[in-house]
């Protein structure tokens, strides 16, 4: 009773401030927390007519169906993991290397031009990137094949029709679009390094490579840790929208991921409960990964996400 009265008093005292937050809080409740509640339908046979409260509870039926009955389950999990592992191996380190190279450039004007050009693809839409991939890689009219045929005299390659090319194309276009923009945080970290450190290293006879390794690189480590944990948080997501645009039935073998499957079963086939169960499996793994990564990072270094 006392507690309620106190809450009432506080609310009244700062009424204007709480009112200002109200639209935002409602947004989070309706569009973020209500869907979390909606996850219940993964354990039901949800039908639109009966709603969440009236639908029949079926326990783990949909999970069992996914893992034991769906022939593609293993393939979907493998593709999701592989695309993200490739991304982590090849895309994650590029901005680090690129930021060091940018930093080592001498001409101020040249440096600025290169940086700004490398940022640009970040602003192209996913549809445009996917469109460029699809048109450039076309075996009959695409410029990549025209160039290959002219330069090496080989037969045109049907890039998007061959499963073995998909991971390369996916990660390659990720790097092309995002590596330049990804340098910004690293460059900010480098800018924060005390110039005295470089002076001292020079006096001690450190060469360029040693300076890069022991000063520049070390100065970037906190940013790397944060970005690594964040990347793991999105680990299962991949750039799902891009995959949805460039994949096709010919390259499903390597391109079909959990999210694209959820989209087809949930949105296109309206199989809501089953698709939610598969989606939940994915977000649960993502959640566990980011929490675990943060815990490990917090144990061994001063930097962590929370």
């Amino acid at each position: 009773m006392m507690r309620l009265a106190r809450i009432g008093f506080v609310l009244k005292k700062h009424k204007a401030l709480y009112l200002l937050m109200l639209p935002g809080i409602l947004y989070y409740l309706i569009f973020k927390y209500a869907p979390m509640y909606g996850i219940i339908i993964a354990f039901q046979d949800y039908s639109v007519g009966r709603g969440i409260l009236g639908s029949k509870f079926v326990g783990l039926k949909h999970f069992i169906e996914f893992f034991y009955v769906t022939p593609d389950a293993w393939k979907l999990i493998r593709n999701t993991v592989m695309l993200n592992v490739y991304d982590l191996l090849f895309h994650f380190p590029t901005p680090i290397v690129l930021a060091i190279l940018f930093h080592e450039l001498k001409g101020k004007w040249f440096k600025r031009v290169v940086q700004n050009i490398s940022y640009l693809p970040h602003f192209l839409s996913t549809v445009v990137i996917a469109g460029i991939l699809v048109t450039f890689l076309s075996p009959t009219t695409g410029v990549i094949n025209h160039l290959l045929v002219k330069a090496f005299g080989i037969e045109p390659i049907m890039f998007l029709g061959l499963p073995e090319w998909f991971r390369t194309l996916y990660v390659g276009s990720e790097i092309w679009q995002k590596a330049g923009w990804g340098t910004i945080l690293y460059l900010a970290a480098i800018a924060g390094i005390d110039p005295m450190l470089y002076e001292a290293a020079k006096i001690d006879g450190a060469n360029r490579l040693q300076q890069i390794r022991h000063i520049t690189f070390v100065g970037m480590v906190p940013v790397m840790i944060i970005l690594f944990v964040l990347t793991l948080g999105n680990f299962m997501e991949a750039s799902f929208e891009k995959i949805l645009l460039i994949y096709n039935s010919m390259n499903y073998e390597t391109s079909d991921v959990i999210n694209t499957f959820v989209y087809r079963r949930g949105i296109l086939d309206a199989d809501f409960s089953f698709a939610t169960a598969v989606g939940l499996f994915q977000s649960a793994i993502g959640f566990v990964l980011v929490v675990a990564a943060n815990r490990i990072v917090r144990k061994y270094s001063a930097t962590s996400l929370w």
Partner: protein
């Protein structure tokens, strides 16, 4: 020893410059090619005669697209969605970030935690779709604007900015009898133009480029934004010229890319510093 080191160092510089030039070529070539192909003769593009510079310049692809009512409608839709989204996002985000910047406000931590948790876990595609459907928002502009109204990153960027503003200014205004609302409108927001510009531009570019929400929430052709139109032409291979007419198929695709990207390319040089700034504020907060 010293001389050797300086030779190695110069070699490193030279290689670095060469690498950067290659990098710029790789970055720019696709964009130059798209532009060249969009103004060239369709047959020369399809057969591979156009590799860098335009050949047999023709603007027919642009003429055809500009005469297409669907394109104009989708352009208009994108402008509508983008402006409404940006305005509402700025209002809702700043209104929520301002109280959250007051360290003494009871309940502040709880609300911050509530927002931060959504970065780690979400209900997922289907439950969100069901909520939007149940609210009766399908096929309306609200299905595009509301589900992504507030970005938690942007909320945190704004809160960090507000926290750094000198409290004395607000105290002075409070003594003069201004309420919280007036302080926010008359003192805090005018001082926060850099962060408002950053968040506004991020939101606008994201919405301009977005296609997935439109794909799942809209099925009325008249509501399609530009990106859906782009997708249909570029990827699904929908013909915009009417049945069986394939004479400009290739150039049309490239012209469509240019038309869809031009506004962003035009404003980019003027606004890129805000983007860089915003990313750094957000990053430092981490």
């Amino acid at each position: 020893m010293n001389k050797q080191a300086s030779i190695a160092s110069r070699l490193f510089d030279a290689l670095n410059v060469i690498f950067m030039i290659l990098l710029m070529i790789v970055m720019i070539y696709p964009m130059v090619y798209v532009f060249s192909a969009s103004i060239s003769n369709n047959a020369l593009v399809a057969s591979g005669a156009v590799l860098l510079w335009p050949k047999d310049i023709k603007l027919i692809a642009y003429e055809q697209l500009l005469n297409n009512p669907d394109l104009w409608r989708s352009y208009w839709n994108t402008i509508r969605y983008t402006s409404l989204h940006t305005v509402l996002t700025l209002i809702a985000t700043s209104a929520m970030a301002y109280p959250l910047a007051k360290r003494w406000l009871p309940g502040r931590r709880l609300i911050l935690m509530m927002a931060a948790f959504t970065l780690l876990f979400s209900g997922g595609m289907i439950p969100t779709f069901i909520i939007v459907q149940q609210l009766g928002l399908l096929n309306t502009i609200w299905a595009i604007v509301l589900p992504s109204l507030i970005s938690t990153w942007h909320l945190f960027i704004m809160r960090t900015f507000f926290e750094a503003l000198p409290e004395e200014l607000e105290d002075a205004a409070a003594i003069d009898g201004c309420g919280s609302m007036q302080i926010l409108l008359r003192i805090v927001l005018p001082l926060s133009m850099p962060v408002l510009a950053t968040v506004g531009l991020f939101t606008a570019v994201n919405q301009w480029n977005a296609f997935f929400n439109a794909l799942i929430y809209l099925n009325d052709r008249d509501m399609y934004p530009l990106q859906i139109m782009l997708r249909n032409i570029l990827i699904a291979g929908t013909n915009v010229q009417g049945e069986g007419d394939l004479t400009h198929l290739e150039t049309l695709k490239y012209a469509m890319i240019i038309i869809g990207t031009l506004p962003i390319l035009c404003v980019y040089p003027f606004v890129q510093k805000y983007f860089v700034q915003g990313t750094m504020i957000g990053g430092i907060k981490g």
